[in-house]
Amino acid sequence: MRLNNSDNIPKNYEQMQDKELVHLFRKKDDQLAFRELMNRHQAKVYSYIFSMIQNREVANDIFQETFTKVITKMDDTYNEQGKWIAWVMRIAHNATIDHIRKQKRFVDVTSSYDEESKTDFYERLPDEDSIGQHDKMELDESTSSLLKHISKLPEEQRTVVMLRHYYEMPFKEIAELTDVSINTALGRMRYALINLRKMFDEEHEKESNNL
């Protein structure tokens, strides 16, 4: 999806391949080339981060961290032989997974009793329905419902689903990005679909009972 500011980018940039734009930005500091690259890929990169984190503010931070790294490390670590966007996605994926793992590590539920409010960790958790209420308002109903289900999948399965469905990434690239074999990546997708099918069925059953 392209933003409105793409109107400021000359037409010939839109016809260039990613690698030509990357070359212009690296060698000639061509800002328009970088803007065109961002226009092409920002929505998919952001969607991937957002779907994994499900929090706008954190997703914004990770997105900015990703592109700051992209800008500062492009001269040193990006090899123009490989796909630029695959390299960007690797940075985004690593930053996202780092954040998820840090969150897991630092939430010590047993020692988080709050004397003042006399509540423990679980009591202070917001209701499931209120999570991302603000974010949900910006998304259509089916997307937010799907994202809610996807967020319940184990991290490895969620990663494969999002990389495939948001990014249409081939399984070979997903396998490389997540450092597993292609069969493992396919297997994770299968488990993810089976788990989601179960969730959809349960939801459908609940809806039927309510009627």
Binding site: L3, Q64, F67, G187, R190, R197
Partner: protein, 197 residues
């Protein structure tokens, strides 16, 4: 997970080559359970296809463009820094090679071995040996190899000639020089002594 389970996903997501796909479709026609499995997974996958992408906020994009604009100066600075490091590395390599060359030419310099003979002050250890018997404090530590050949190495000062000669004379009374024609041809300044008579 076995390969059979993965095949349905590979089929759904077009990850099969044409021959595998043909074979799988043949299996689908024969196996109803497999057909049900593939169709139910396809149904879930189609639902996932409805996920819309989420746009990042415009302010965030502007902030990133700002970082990219600043890169201009940083990239040039980085270029000069890289050039500086490369030049420093080249100078360092050049100096190190020069010192090594000088040292090796010192060791092989004919001036230093001038007048060297069995009775002269300079003795060499077998240069092919990795072991060294030179002690920097001036003490010589001889060693004996499997063939009972004694090896020692030192650089003697001219003032110690008389003492050295006396050591040699005593050695020749008890030990005999090694007579290996091949070795003596390639290493003319080696002095090997042995206790084997």
């Amino acid at each position: 997970m076995n390969k059979k389970d993965i095949r349905s996903i590979a089929y759904l997501y077009n990850e099969m080559d044409p021959s595998e796909k043909l074979e799988f479709e043949r299996d689908l026609n024969k196996d109803n359970d497999l057909l049900i499995e593939v169709e139910s997974l396809r149904n879930v996958s189609e639902k996932l296809g409805k996920i819309q992408s989420v746009e990042p906020p415009q302010e965030l994009i502007e902030a990133i463009h700002g970082i990219a604009d600043k890169r201009n100066g940083t990239a040039k600075h980085s270029y000069w820094r890289t050039t500086l490091y490369a030049t420093a590395a080249l100078i360092l390599i050049g100096m190190t090679s020069g010192i090594l060359l000088l040292e090796s030419s010192d060791n092989n310099s004919p001036g230093e071995t001038e007048g060297a003979s069995i009775n002269t002050p300079i003795l060499f250890d077998n240069p092919t040996s990795t072991s060294t018997s030179i002690n920097r404090s001036g003490k010589v530590s001889p060693w004996v190899d499997n063939n009972e050949v004694i090896h020692f190495q030192d650089r003697l000062h001219a003032s110690e000639n008389a003492a050295t000669d006396s050591i040699f004379r005593k050695s020749f009374q008890k030990l005999t020089p090694v007579t290996d024609p091949a070795e003596s041809r390639s290493l003319p300044r080696n002095l090997h002594l042995t206790g084997n008579r």
